[in-house]
């Protein structure tokens, strides 16, 4: 802040501006390709980091919203995930698409946050059937926001298992290893989540 700004501040004619923490880092400039983005991020360029964030933040926010219950929680997961991305970018081998790698990091960040907030409790495999009768749903009857709200209303452990199995495509064995539960527990929780979702969808859009 310059010396000339102090009288204006004293008279209340100007508002103080908060010092920017990122003032010492270079500002973003031109649009870069993915390889240039990766190289720039590895060199610590803020421009490259911001472009990478802007390129993938919307899609990763959608991923985080599915695992989180609220938007704020999803933003926390997104923030933690992108910090992890920039810290571990040197370990990215560039053998798989960058988006897939970032998505994995976001999923792991969501799992970490879920462990911190609500530890998983193993439940008995119980009374729920592992498979349900297939029921056909008309896609056009449902909107993205409605389905997202339905998923977010699930219990945290059901939401995790459903997302990992039905959306991400993990097997129950992999889910059991990721969540530190047994494969049967993963199956039973998925079955319960499926029943809950069917009921909610039935209430949301009654069949004509």
């Amino acid at each position: 802040m310059s010396a000339l700004a102090w009288p204006a501040l004293a008279l209340g004619m100007a508002k103080p501006t908060a010092p920017k923490l990122t003032a010492s880092r270079p500002a973003p400039t031109a649009t870069l390709s993915e390889e240039e983005l990766l190289d720039g991020c590895l060199l610590g360029s803020q421009a490259a980091q911001k472009q990478l964030y802007e390129r993938y933040s919307a899609r990763m926010m959608a991923v985080c919203l599915r695992y989180a219950q609220t938007t704020f929680e999803a933003e926390d997961v997104l923030q933690e995930g992108f910090v992890t991305v920039f810290r571990t970018l040197a370990g990215f081998r560039r053998e798989c698409p960058l988006e897939f790698w970032i998505r994995r990091i976001m999923v792991n960040a969501a799992l970490r946050q879920h462990r911190r907030n609500a530890p998983l409790v193993a439940v008995s495999d119980g009374d729920y059937p592992e498979t349900l009768a297939s029921e056909e749903f008309t896609f056009s009857n449902y909107a993205y926001a409605e389905l997202l709200a339905v998923v977010q209303e699930l219990a945290p452990r059901y939401r995790l298992v459903f997302n990992l199995y039905a959306i991400e495509g993990y097997t129950h064995k992999e889910i059991g290893e990721m969540l530190d539960i047994s494969e049967g527990t993963s199956k039973s929780q998925y079955s319960r989540a499926r029943v809950v979702l069917q009921n909610k969808l039935a209430r949301l859009q009654p069949p004509s």
């Binding site: 990122t22 880092r25 599915r66």
Partner: protein
């Protein structure tokens, strides 16, 4: 609603269709998220710099410490090697020591050599090694055994036993001569206690003792520290036993005692 071909599917397909395909059109996060991410990255970068600075400080402190230790040690060694220090001076005591017990009167000659402990500077610890050079009449002496080495530094006790026998045949006279060979330290592996560098450093001094031994053909087994402790020299041909018992020196004393016992047994030569 398109009633002609409505896409249908299971529950999983429904969610996969909507949630995955709508990701690209999802609402981007608030701009504050990026600021927080950038802030965390900046903090992480500052933390990395701070750790590096701490590591540099430790490395610098360790380097200074090592340099100061090395400089101090070098200065101390320079002070220690100053000419103020005196090496041990061996005093040959001829006749002062009691006669060697057990020496056969028939033996033609015995040599007595006594070494008195002398003050030593710490850096000039000397282990004496006695060398018996064979200035021996080959016709008269059959065997000469000498021995001797003992190294003691700063209160350590070194026990050196060395046996040396060198037969020297003298041409047409066909006389056997066992000349006490000069063996220094552990050069021949005959010492029971390693002498190390100190013993080897005393080679020249041992030569002096050997010369004394050769010039004084009287046998003596002298313990410099305990004059009363005299053990008879066993007249084993070609064998000499030297036991040096160094006094327990105080850590601050600069004395490194060294004693050597010389036993020389000279026997008559073997005529062919």
């Amino acid at each position: 609603m398109n009633s002609s071909t409505p896409p249908k599917g299971s529950l999983e397909e429904l969610f996969r269709h909507h949630l995955l395909e709508s990701e690209a059109a999802a609402v981007p996060p608030r701009p504050q998220v990026w600021e927080q991410v950038d802030n965390q990255l900046l903090l992480a970068q500052n933390e990395k710099y701070r750790r590096r600075l701490v590591a540099y400080r430790w490395a610098m402190a360790a380097s200074l410490l090592l340099a100061s230790l090395a400089g101090g040690g070098w200065w101390r060694s320079q002070q220690g090697t100053a000419p103020t220090g005196t090496l041990a001076e061996a005093t040959t005591q001829q006749g002062a020591q009691p006669a060697l017990a057990g020496a056969s009167p028939a033996r033609p000659a015995t040599a007595a050599s006594g070494l008195a402990p002398a003050p030593l500077s710490p850096a000039a610890a000397v282990a004496s090694a006695t060398r018996s050079s064979s200035i021996i009449n080959p016709l008269a002496i059959d065997q000469t055994a000498t021995l001797s080495a003992s190294a003691s530094l700063a209160g350590t006790r070194a026990l050196a036993t060395r046996t040396s026998a060198i037969h020297q045949r003298m041409g047409s006279a066909a006389s056997h001569t066992l000349a006490g060979a000069s063996l220094v330290g552990s050069s021949l592996g005959l010492t029971s206690a390693p002498l190390g560098a100190a013993g080897q450093a005393a080679t020249s001094e041992g030569n002096y003792y050997a010369g004394t031994l050769a010039s004084n053909p009287s046998t003596a087994l002298a313990d410099d520290n305990q004059p009363g402790d005299q053990r008879p020299a066993t007249a084993l041909p070609g064998t000499a036993l030297a036991v040096a018992a160094a006094p327990e020196a105080s850590p601050t004393s600069e004395t490194a005692s060294h004693a050597s016992r010389h036993t020389s047994a000279c026997e008559s030569s073997l005529a062919p």
